[in-house]
């Protein structure tokens, strides 16, 4: 019994998250909330959330791959040191990490000045409180989550494979595309899942770097509870978000075995 009780508790909570609609009293079966969601305003922000998180995940994959690849080719001691260098920023307070970009991106901030100095812009960059700023914030926050799984899959590759490919006359680009990338694919997919899921439901980063103007699904959802008080609509959003994630996970799952056998 001692073991079952927490298990039941856990079950209750996880069901609470899967099907919040049924917990709502005085609410008949209607698709009204979903239809309200399909209106252009919300659909627009849904698409933006998806694009932003997909874009950020893609950028994370590219950046993460370059660092993970470099780390995996170092001697063991240097590898450990570099991994610590990747993880420590990840351990610092999430709020502070996101906030640091407000300083950096604001007009007259370091990046704006640098861009002005090298003649990139005539006036100001004005990148803070735009979708670009949100994307940068997401990439920055989740990058370590991408680097670690890719590193794990790259680290297993035997060095002689690289040499063999080079000896057989493959150009560096060809080596990368035909040898390294396929072998690292499971790690890349794992990283994309780990980064993409929280990114899609991100609430804090758009709030800070989007200035509350550019909304993602997470913000609209939160607003339904914090200010509007439209619980049924909010839960319809939550269910939609879960649905999208389920579909994405399912698609990635199906791809994975193919990649491994390739």
């Amino acid at each position: 019994m001692f073991f079952v009780v927490p298990l039941v508790l856990v079950a209750v909570y996880s069901f609470g998250s899967i099907n919040p609609v049924t917990l709502d009293v005085g609410f008949g079966w209607t698709t009204g909330n979903y239809r309200a969601f399909a209106s252009t305003l919300y659909l627009h922000s849904l698409l933006r959330s998806i694009f932003l998180s997909l874009g950020a995940t893609g950028a994370c994959a590219v950046l993460g791959f370059s660092l993970a690849y470099f780390i995996s080719r170092q001697p063991p001691r240097a590898q450990r040191l570099l991994l610590v260098a990747v993880i420590v920023p990840f351990w610092t307070s999430f709020i502070v990490r996101t906030y640091s970009w407000v300083d950096l991106l604001q007009n007259l901030g370091p990046i704006d000045r640098l861009a002005g100095a090298i003649g990139l812009t005539d006036s100001h960059l004005s990148v803070l409180y735009t979708p670009t700023a949100i994307a940068i914030g997401i990439i920055y926050s989740y990058l370590p989550l991408m680097i670690l799984p890719i590193y794990v899959s790259l680290e297993r590759i035997d060095a002689s494979i690289y040499n063999a490919a080079a000896d057989l006359g493959a150009t560096p680009w060809r080596q990368f595309r035909r040898v390294v990338l396929p072998l690292a694919m499971p790690g890349v997919i794992a990283g994309c899942i780990i980064v993409g899921i929280p990114a899609l439901g991100e609430y804090v980063i758009p709030e800070i770097l989007g200035g509350g103007k550019t909304l993602m699904l997470g913000n609209i959802l939160a607003n339904q509870f914090q200010t509007t008080g439209n619980y049924p609509f909010g839960s319809a959003l939550a269910v939609t978000l879960m649905g999208i994630l389920m579909i994405l996970l399912f698609l990635l799952r199906r791809r994975q075995p193919l990649q491994e056998s390739a």
Binding site: W91, V96, R97, L145, Y162, G201, Y203, A222
Partner: protein, 275 residues
Amino acid sequence: MSIRRHPVSALLAFAVLAFLWLPLLAVVVNSFNRDTLMAGWGGATGHWYNLAANDHDVREGLKTTLIIAFASALVSLAVGISGALWWRRAPRRAQAVYDGLVYARIIVPEVVFATALFFLFVHFKFRLGLPAIIIGHSVWNSAYATLIIQARMVGLDPSVEEAAADLGATPWRVFRRVTLHSLMPAIIAAGLLAFTFSFDDVVTSYFLQGTAQSPLPIVLFGLIRFRLTPEVNAIGVLVMLLTVGLMSLAVTMFATAGRLGRSEKRAGFLDMYRR
């Protein structure tokens, strides 16, 4: 030319490392900045640290955060340990279901989870506030605790416990002196990790705080939205030191807690996931 040591890869790698570290450097530098707008360097000052240390909201927030983090770490450990103990002797099917529940709690986005809990509490007229936040944090923290403790448990040889029982130890004594003792490093690591996650959480606390005193990350969140001063940076640096210290401790504990192939794989998953 082999791409093993291609110069382009080194160049990219250093650019990415700089990307990871420069913002943090900026936070530290600006926490000493005399210029309130942080538009340029106005000279060094410890003023902001002084201000942060004497800010009523910050102090109360820190106290609240510590209470929440401590309580939720304890609850997560209780759930994690009992769950893992049950898991060890459970039938295969039940194990799979339990594992599924653990992973589900990690994969479901926090906004959705927090919403669902908010619903649950409001529906059953459970008052929002500290206890609600503690429960909320424990839900996902206990999943991590379970993973860590399970990983250690896999390497536990049941024959040691059987031997202790054969030698006349009571079941409680076997549990306390053998099982719990050998799980200790994982328990400490899981506890510290849960503490740190809870310490850093925004979303769950934000939904479930009600009218209670806000925990520190939410106080920070509010500060950021209403005024930008180097004080936020100073608080940030202090929080940073605390979290990094705790996490290092947790990882060192876990690293010494045994190096089984399986446990490392699970720990790897864990390190990868959480923000």
